[in-house]
């Protein structure tokens, strides 16, 4: 357990480097890294600094954000099936982003894009917490999630189909499946600051989440399960999932798989699971993003395709265990 954090850090660093060195242009590794660090003339520094670097940074940030919010939601809702993508928070964020883009708000002010996605995500979390708070069962949570996802997906498809732009309708897939292809540093600067703020907010909840594992009554006795916890979680999740979805689309299952895999390693303590899941999420998303570039290099295979192939069987397994009454 003590070696877990150094090992995860090393894994993320290695995958970050691999992500920088993966691409259709097949650049020599040393030249590529020199161009990244030192710049210079010609197209090589542009490829490294403007195309590959933002992609790798967003891979770390979005993956870490999804892992962190997944672990936090699971801790607060005391339910291993909670995950921003599956229960509709990412979908609501995508709807907010699409509305900001198609109404032209995002052209008026660049910040309108992450802000609108943030509002969408906040509405999604607030609805979920209202419908299936710590006392709601798995069934309530999943049903509420299905309803919110369906509504958000339909809204996104409607907005894109109403767009006068001939390309907009084909982008429903991007918003439902997510992709990091051809993102720029502009996207990094838009998404990263609110995501860091959200991560800081969520990390302040970790002791309260620890207390909550003793049961809601015990946590309330300790003064740790009050409305402040709920608001910090809602705001933190929205601050992370909103901007992440605004730049990368809705990527599912990361926040489900990672906490599930890491939970035994940290003794099921949320306070340790939160940072571990952030690192694990970053590693999973970087690995997926490298894989989509290796499997079909000339097509933009969506990230959500890979995370779903890994995550959906695990999701079914969890539902199966919940159904048979076993602890998960």
């Amino acid at each position: 357990m003590r070696g877990l954090f150094p090992a995860l850090l090393l894994l993320v660093a290695a995958l970050f480097l691999a992500s920088l060195l993966t691409g259709p242009a097949g650049l020599p590794a040393m030249d590529a890294l020199r161009a990244l660090a030192l710049g210079g003339d010609g197209p090589l520094p542009i490829v490294m600094r403007e195309i590959r670097l933002p992609r790798a940074i967003l891979g770390v940030a979005v993956g870490a954000g999804l892992g962190l919010t997944g672990a936090a939601l699971q801790g607060y809702l005391r339910n291993p099936l909670a995950e921003p993508g599956l229960i509709g928070i990412s979908g609501m964020a995508a709807l907010g982003a699409v509305i900001a883009i198609q109404t032209g708000l995002s052209l008026v002010a660049a910040l309108a894009l992450p802000l609108a996605a943030l509002v969408g995500a906040a509405a999604g979390v607030a609805m979920l917490v209202a419908l299936a708070g710590p006392r709601g069962g798995s069934v309530t949570l999943i049903l509420a999630g299905v309803a919110i996802s369906a509504l958000a997906g339909a809204g996104t498809a409607l907005v894109l189909n109403l767009s006068p732009n001939p390309y907009a309708a084909s982008e429903i897939v991007f918003w439902l499946m997510g992709s990091l292809a051809d993102k720029s540093m502009l996207h990094v600067w838009l998404a990263l600051p609110p995501m860091l703020l959200g991560a800081a907010l969520i990390l302040t909840t970790r002791h309260a989440l620890d207390a909550l594992t003793l049961g809601e009554a015990a946590a309330q006795t300790l003064g740790m399960a009050g409305p402040s916890l709920r608001w910090r979680l809602i705001a933190g999740t929205a601050l992370i999932v909103g901007p992440a979805t605004a730049v990368a689309g809705a990527i599912g299952f990361v926040g489900l798989v990672v906490p599930h895999v890491l939970r035994p390693w940290v003794g099921a303590r949320p306070s340790a699971l939160l940072p571990a899941s952030a690192l694990g999420g970053a590693a999973l998303l970087l690995a997926s993003d490298i894989a989509v570039r290796l499997i079909v290099p000339d097509r933009d295979l969506k990230l959500g395709v890979l995370t779903a192939i890994v995550g959906a069987p695990l999701f079914l397994h969890l539902i199966w265990k919940t159904r048979s009454g076993g602890r998960v």
Binding site: A25, P164, D182
Partner: protein, 267 residues
């Protein structure tokens, strides 16, 4: 076997004789075009009153270089029902017209032609002649062809002006076997798509485009509303080609004599 061949030859010969003997009045009198590209050729060649309707796209000034002329015609949106009610005796659709619509019109006894899109200048020349034959206006077609040949010869530039890249929404580029590629070549540019083994229209990853370091970058036009697909044209990595970006427009869309304007736009 031999008998069969001889009989089909005889039928063919008879058909040719009959066709030659038909009076000029056999040209279709109510023609409907439902494809942006055939709209333009039909408007250039049809006799007054012969062309009844063109597609609504032909009236869109963002898409059609003949939007003004097209405004004088009734517009259709490509649905079998509205086209049948116009009582056409010839419908000119296209390879990409929904097959159900074409099949429906044919079942209703209407002659439907589906010309494929022209991908080079020889195909445009053939299209002009064929449209003239369909409309029974061979002389108009010969005149247009002569003007097109003269325009094309005047617009063409010898090669060696450098390497150019075509880049459109969703990262698509066009190779030498496409109309846009032919326009590029006629303007005297080498197409970087060929360096990557691309001959038709397909995606080219952004970093390969940047690594190719083209002398000239020609991007697709932007549409109202926004899309992720077009966002790639605003990528900071492309801003590194200062003053080299140029936008393709309505003269690049169709294989019509307007392509000479597209060639000249690259001067």
């Amino acid at each position: 076997m031999r008998g069969c061949v001889r009989r089909s030859d005889a039928i063919l010969a008879a058909a040719v004789l009959i066709a030659a003997a038909l009076p000029a009045g056999a040209a279709p009198q109510r023609v409907v075009s439902m494809n942006l590209c055939s709209d333009q050729l039909a408007m250039m060649l049809a006799a007054p009153e012969q062309l009844v309707s063109v597609s609504s796209l032909a009236q869109d000034p963002r898409l059609s270089p003949m939007a003004d002329q097209a405004a004088a015609y009734k517009a259709n949106t490509g649905r079998a029902e509205e086209i049948y009610l116009m009582r056409p005796d010839l419908v000119i659709a296209g390879t990409y017209t929904p097959p159900a619509t074409v099949a429906m019109l044919r079942r209703l006894g209407i002659r439907v032609e589906t010309p494929p899109p022209a991908e080079d200048f020889d195909a445009i020349r053939a299209d002009i002649t064929r449209m003239g034959d369909w409309l029974g206006q061979p002389q108009a077609a010969r005149d247009l062809l002569a003007r097109f040949d003269a325009d094309l010869a005047a617009a063409r530039r010898p090669g060696g002006r450098g390497r150019a890249a075509l880049y459109e929404a969703n990262g698509f580029t066009s190779g030498p076997d496409t109309l846009a590629g032919s326009i590029l070549e006629a303007a005297g540019y080498a197409n970087i798509a060929a360096d990557h083994g691309i001959s038709a229209t397909t995606t080219l990853p952004l970093e390969l485009l940047v690594m190719s370091d083209p002398d000239r970058l020609i991007t697709g036009a932007k549409w109202p509303g926004q899309s992720q697909g077009e966002a790639i044209l605003d990528h900071p990595a492309l801003a590194a080609f200062p003053g080299r970006a140029q936008v393709t427009d309505l003269n690049w869309t169709c294989g019509t004599p307007f392509v000479t304007r597209a060639i000249r736009s690259l001067e």
